[in-house]
Amino acid sequence: MVTVTIATSIDDACAALDSDPGALVMAGGTDLMVEVNRGTRLVGNVVAVDRVPELRGWSLEGDRSDVLRLGAGTTCADLAEPSLAKLVPALAQAARTVGSPQIRNAATLGGNLATASPAGDTLPVLAALDAEVELRSSAGTRRLPLDEFVVGVKVNALVPGELITAIRVPVLNGPQEFLKVGTRNAMVIAVTSLALVVDRPGRTVRVALGSVAPVPVRAIEAEVLAAERCDFDGMSVPPDEVVERFAILTADAARPIDDHRGSAAYRRHAVSVLARRAIRRAFSGVPSVAA
């Protein structure tokens, strides 16, 4: 008999997975049920984790309360709430572009991460923030940096019986942007996306791209240029030649392919447009944005 276990605690879920490591973990179901309805995924035993309160909350950690721990069950709607949006604005912007209100009410951060789609909207933001993924099973807890968790197109580092319990990101002092290009504005999978975060005290800019490679990519050379040439005190708009160079270096980091959503050439072009837009918005001459 096929069973659905409705977990109400992390221990509960781990115990259920321990006795049946092949069981399917289901959170919001917005990725899984599409496959189930299509008949491309056979349903065996399910462990539903959408009623585990411990997975839903968030908290600030660290000596200076500058690390945000987000439960894996935090929904995209939760992420877009003002209280979280002010801590990680780019993540809120990304979450708000996911699907529609109905999808955002169900879709979770953990589900977006576990699906590990190149077009997953939270992924470039998590990459730019150097997020850390917390995993738990009955064997214990481990933490992985994002780039060791998302390892290929829809491939993650979860082992059977393991749950994502939380995602940790720094709370930075500085502006953030998430930009997405799709075939329309609402309910659209990204053709290209870009996340940019500024750390003013650290005098660094971090940029990551989505939908242009198997996994989210960082534009390291563009980051080096921005660190050298941007004005982290006055936040003044960078000179045009710096913006241009930044856009070229960012586009160079992309490794796009031609597919049904867009050509590689279009994607590379779109990345440069988004890079220009993001750096100009972040450094817009308003020093108070991050004060």
Binding site: M1, V2, T3, V4, T5, I6, T8, M26, G28, G29, T30, L32, M33, V34, V36, N37, R38, L42, V43, G44, V46, A48, D50, A77, G99, S100, P101, Q102, I103, N105, A106, A186, M187
Partner: protein, 164 residues
Amino acid sequence: MTTSEDFSLVVNGSHRSVVDALPGESLLFVLRERLGLIGSKNACEEGECGSCTVRLDGETVCSCLVLAAAAADREVVTIEGLTSEEAVLSDVQQAFLDAGAVQCGFCTPGLLMAVDALLDADDEPDELTVREAISGNLCRCTGYGRILDAVDRAASARRSQVTP
């Protein structure tokens, strides 16, 4: 709690038992095919069209993407539960009629659920807010003009109901 082919749902305030469900049945399927609640419509089965929108513990979701057995004992409100008495139209339903926002009618139940939830949260939404709130509901007849008009009418009806 572990459920299998037999479980119980709370739909529009009543406990409804589901027996002999097959693995993987969606809430939409169970509502329509097992409980006879055919107001929620089945079109895309992939969350794109919104015609199956219900409230689950108060929040709008696509019922096609909810595993029915995992929704056991959660509060489900369908279009049939939008008003307490069947013969009475809700403010949103009346506004859709008055504005002529219903053509073929297939998207209407989902839209009514989405708009009702919007007005619960904000009874004076600006146009951008309305457009975002209904971005998960596809209508291929109206071009949305009359739907936006209906939301305006429903919003003012709701504001006038709330005694200041």
